[in-house]
Symmetry: C2
Subunit: 111 residues, 2 copies
């Protein structure tokens, strides 16, 4: 392998990191759910009411995805009917910097 | 409409702004192309070599999408064969803050 073929590691790392983040927040509904949870713990029904355009099935998929990615915590209370609550983890709360920059960029450059 | 039904405008605005930004950077290839262009002007062939996993068709679609969103500028030079160069606009360069926060978040929270 000649010196000209040398590829520094950093760009690949950058690609992976941005890809990993987009994998968490890039879905159609993820950021809408995250936005609600930044305001505090929410029940499934509350999220459904706050995001009326999402189907229960898509909301379940999104919540499961975000739970698997470790950005939210799901708590089940043995009430009748059962109560399920969703809360951001510290990893999820830390997404606030990205969402803030996204809001600022759009505010600066779009109508 | 009672006071209880009042929905403040701000959350909707936030949703729209984050959605607008994801619409620009959320595609499968967009951020890989943007990453290359942050380093400077690139020709079509250079981008293809730097992102070997993208097909020419997908690269063309991505570049057209980013041009339509106003984040890059396409310049055609009447050489034989024709030379096409892509450069970030100020709007595109300003995405650096978001991508930086995405890299930092992934570095803090993922392996």
């Amino acid at each position: 392998m000649s010196a000209h073929n040398y590829v520094p590691k950093e760009p690949v790392q950058i690609e992976c990191n941005i890809e990993k983040t987009l994998d968490v927040i890039g879905g159609k509904w993820a950021f809408l759910v995250l936005r609600e949870l930044f305001c505090g713990t929410r029940r499934f029904g509350e999220l459904q009411r706050m995001i009326p355009s999402v189907s229960p099935r898509a909301l379940t998929t999104t919540l499961r995805h975000l739970e698997e990615k470790g950005v939210l915590e799901r708590k089940v209370f043995p009430t009748v009917p059962v109560t399920v609550e969703y809360t951001l983890t510290p990893k999820g709360e830390d997404l606030t910097h990205i969402l803030k920059e996204m809001k600022l960029w759009a505010a600066r450059w779009t109508d």
